[in-house]
Symmetry: C2
Amino acid sequence: MTTQRKAPDAARRNEAARRAILTAALDLAGEVGYARLSIEAIATRAGAGKQTIYRWWPSKGAVLFDALLMLSEGQDDQPADLPDTGDLEADLKTVLRATVDELNDPRYSEPMRALAIEILLDPALAADFAERLDEPMRELKRRRLRRAQQAGDLGPGVDLDVAVDLLWGPLKNRWLHREGPLTTEFADTVVETALNGLRPGQSSSSTSR
Amino acid sequence: MTTQRKAPDAARRNEAARRAILTAALDLAGEVGYARLSIEAIATRAGAGKQTIYRWWPSKGAVLFDALLMLSEGQDDQPADLPDTGDLEADLKTVLRATVDELNDPRYSEPMRALAIEILLDPALAADFAERLDEPMRELKRRRLRRAQQAGDLGPGVDLDVAVDLLWGPLKNRWLHREGPLTTEFADTVVETALNGLRPGQSSSSTSR
DNA sequence: CATAGACGAGACGGACCGTCTCGTAGTACG
DNA sequence: CGTACTACGAGACGGTCCGTCTCGTCTATG
């Protein structure tokens, strides 16, 4: 997927081999981590030839990317939109808590960390990831915040991209750099602090509802 | 530095070789990026034997770490404390703008990115980095914010670690993941948004002095 | 002034890389 | 229904870099 160098015939593709390779990549990423994850090991584990991997994927990162896509397509709870109950703070906490749970699931976490590292190393993969996953997700977040802004729950001058960074960035940082335990309490605190701001207001910690 | 395996005699250490190695590491990181940075290339560029590197550093990342320390020790503007003029917003903007300038300096930026990646891959290096650089810096930030809190410029219930994440995290993210141009305007917006919060207040964008 | 030890150089086996070439098997198309 | 195509598993290949080791040289410490 993603790109191919000399037009292999997609109609003749062996679906079983594809699934075996993606599954092996996920398992190995979880078992040995990114640093020791090799294409040779993936091929051996999958019972596939190395050439079968090189035929269909341009890089190890692309394999991981597809592997995670396969994993997330497994359960179709992919939301077309972020929840909007009218209560911005509650909705944000719901979403961030779900993110925390996902990032704490070892089935996702290690392969995702491996992919994140691969993305830092490979600009082509970074562009592919940004286009197919990151930017669409960001647009979802921006859209929810834009509705909140129109409803008057967000300051009219707030830059929505900065708002997204403030809300989701701390979680991403803490997870990727293992800066501490990723808890739902942390997610809640981030939401409250970002919404209320650091300055002393009438509301300092827990607010609203 | 950092650790040694069999107690080489530090008194007999060749300072010229040490500097040549660290300089070569910095130059190569800037020229070829992390992905192609090899210890062999560093040794060759430095006119040193590989063993000389392995004798004094436990990993490529440790070399990069020391190289960046050497670079930053070059100019002694290492502040014992963050500025405190009494105007929190102005002080934060000053500091974050300086960070932006440093992250935009290619002399620092590429080696730092290489080190950041190495840290993601190597828990031992991560611990070393956290102890010797990251945590002390974070304490500096926390201390400035604590003073602000005591002065009433920060909400009394604000978690100072979360506040640091909100202020410095977006810059780190944008830089490391190349999510967009790192400008002083962005830094200013982050400071204003984090201080004021996302909710509509009496002040929406630019505030105070 | 002698000697221990750091030094530059590079050989070594091993891990993976990415390419290639086999013989086999399954599928698309005549 | 048969045949040609081509993806497949397997693995050999040269290449890079790893981390260890072994040289002979140079130096500075004792």
